[in-house]
């Protein structure tokens, strides 16, 4: 058997040598045209480096219809329509794992970019937690962007890069977060007392609700619906769009517009992957990204209103306007702890930014 293999290999080699010889003869016979061909080939590979095809991979956890999903879709379409040679491949809906997994992959360079909540990012970059302080933002459509687009946002981004190596190229919106309960609507701190409420697995979220007298229960997002249905938790908190899309309203029809957190979505990129872009490609990318950012924020703000409308009209959700001032007073000790951690002046600068 092995000798047979040897014979086959010998025959194969001699055939190959013959073929190479033939090609050499042909080449010398048409030496001139061959040189020309080679020169053309070299030129064709060297000249259009600017338009070299380059894949940008992105990931996030949001389903279609949500602002982050739609913003990435717009970027993908615009980049495909440009002559930059950039192609964007998006892995939405947590196809590559939860936000922690996604951040790990961007750090490793397995994917180019992602849009992740600051609550998840703070597990890698504790300094970003300054944006997760409760009742820090006055509203959901102006105050956050004054902070994020100015020197304060730049300072947070620089801290993130120092801590993780990740570059924050922009800030998107995951909206104001509100509490929804199975039975009792939240009017003030007294209704939160002893309430079992699901929170994101992040220290500031747990501290805030424990500070308000509730029993914070961290659990993965995918388990929230069942937990509400079985009574494992009495309440949960999310932005209104997520409340609608995940159909939490079916199990917890009491929506109280507490607005206790504004959740930023940091758009992070792998530095080395972005350095592969030529100057022209980077310009196209930046322009597309700026448009996507505007679109994402606008959509987040408008969806809040339309979703709230839909929830009250079609889903029979009972919307309550709680005493936000009383809640803020109750959570003051937690605010103070975090203000000390991140620097009182810095936190005040964010709070008072106009």
């Amino acid at each position: 058997m092995s000798s047979l293999l040897c014979v086959a290999a010998r025959e194969g080699m001699s055939l190959l040598r013959h073929a190479v010889r033939v090609r050499c003869v042909n080449a010398s016979a048409r030496g001139y045209s061959a040189t020309l061909m080679l020169a053309l080939l070299a030129a064709s590979t060297m000249l259009p480096t600017a338009a070299l095809a380059l894949d940008i991979t992105a990931s996030h956890v949001n389903p279609p219809g949500e602002p982050t999903y739609e913003a990435f879709r717009q970027m993908t379409e615009q980049l495909a329509g440009s002559d930059s040679g950039l192609r964007m491949q998006v892995y939405p809906r947590g196809q590559l794992g939860n936000e922690h997994d996604i951040i790990e992959q961007v750090r490793l360079g397995a994917i180019t970019m992602a849009s992740v909540s600051t609550a998840a990012l703070s597990a890698f970059a504790p300094s970003v937690g300054v944006l997760d302080i409760p009742f820090l933002m006055r509203d959901h459509d102006r105050h956050p962007w004054v902070v994020a687009d100015g020197p304060l946002g730049e300072r947070v981004a620089k801290n993130v890069q120092r801590e993780t190596g990740l570059v924050v190229i922009g800030w998107w919106s995951a909206g104001m977060r509100h509490v929804f309960t199975r039975q009792t609507p939240i009017r003030g701190p007294q209704e939160l007392a002893d309430l079992k409420i699901r929170v994101i697995q992040s220290q500031v979220y747990t501290d805030t609700f424990n500070g308000l007298g509730a029993k914070a229960t961290p659990m993965p997002y995918g388990e929230v619906y069942t937990a509400l249905a079985t009574g494992t938790v009495d309440a949960a908190e999310n932005d209104v769009t997520g409340y609608r899309n995940m159909q939490f309203f079916e199990q917890a029809p009491e929506l109280s517009l507490t607005g206790h957190f504004f959740l930023f979505k940091a758009v992070i990129v792998n530095r080395r992957a972005m350095e592969k872009l030529s100057t022209e490609q980077r310009a196209v990318f930046d322009k597309t990204f700026a448009e996507a950012t505007g679109y994402q924020r606008e959509l987040a703000a408008s969806l809040f209103l339309s979703d709230l409308q839909w929830l009250t009209d079609s889903a029979r959700v009972n919307v309550t306007m709680p005493d936000r001032k009383a809640l803020e007073v109750a959570v003051k000790p937690v605010q103070d702890v975090y203000a000390r951690r991140f620097g009182r002046d810095f936190v005040n600068a964010i709070r008072n930014a106009r």
Partner: protein, 174 residues
């Protein structure tokens, strides 16, 4: 003298392996027991005491990672892993033992590479903290390089283990 040493080497290796396996099995017992306690606590704290503990879920996840990778190492020693053997059993060709040995080397090489790469990833990713336990995820991820190194070790030991004696038979005899 050299002959003696040649014989002594494998038996020393196997003696070391026996110690390692004892530690592994003890660790598996402890992890499984603590998983049981942690998860029971989680359920009890949510439904009975009405005071949900936040660290139970994270600790259970860490425990499960160690359980899987140390368990895989013990499985490697007992030769309990899934094997596709139809080709090697049915097809006869010259140099078959050599191919089998090449496969063994490939397996050990694969797990050593996996151990090295995952050790690097564990170090690189160690900046991530688990919020409730307030400690680095490296404590969980370290299970992968440790487990892979142990698997490679057991495969190396299997080369010097007497051919006929399966682990089950050895253990019965011991």
């Amino acid at each position: 003298m050299t002959e003696d040493r040649k014989k002594a080497m494998p038996s020393t290796l196997l003696r070391v392996e026996r110690v390692v396996v004892t530690i592994e099995e003890a660790a598996l017992f402890l992890i499984l027991a603590s998983l049981l306690v942690t998860l029971t606590l989680q359920i009890a704290s949510r439904f009975l005491f009405e005071f949900p503990l936040d660290w139970t879920e994270e600790l259970a996840r860490v425990g499960q990672m160690w359980l899987v990778f140390i368990g895989a190492a013990v499985g490697a020693r007992r030769a309990e892993h899934f094997v596709v053997e139809i080709f090697m059993e049915r097809v006869h060709f010259p140099g078959k033992p050599l191919v089998a040995r090449a496969i063994d080397i490939l397996v050990v090489g694969f797990f050593l590479v996996l151990a090295l790469v995952s050790a690097w990833t564990t170090w690189f990713g160690s900046i991530q903290t688990m919020p409730a336990l307030a400690s680095s995820v490296a404590w969980a991820y370290a299970a992968i390089p440790v487990g892979c190194a142990l698997i490679a070790f057991h495969f190396v030991c299997s080369w010097v283990r007497p051919v006929q004696a399966s682990v089950a038979a050895m253990e019965a005899g011991e």
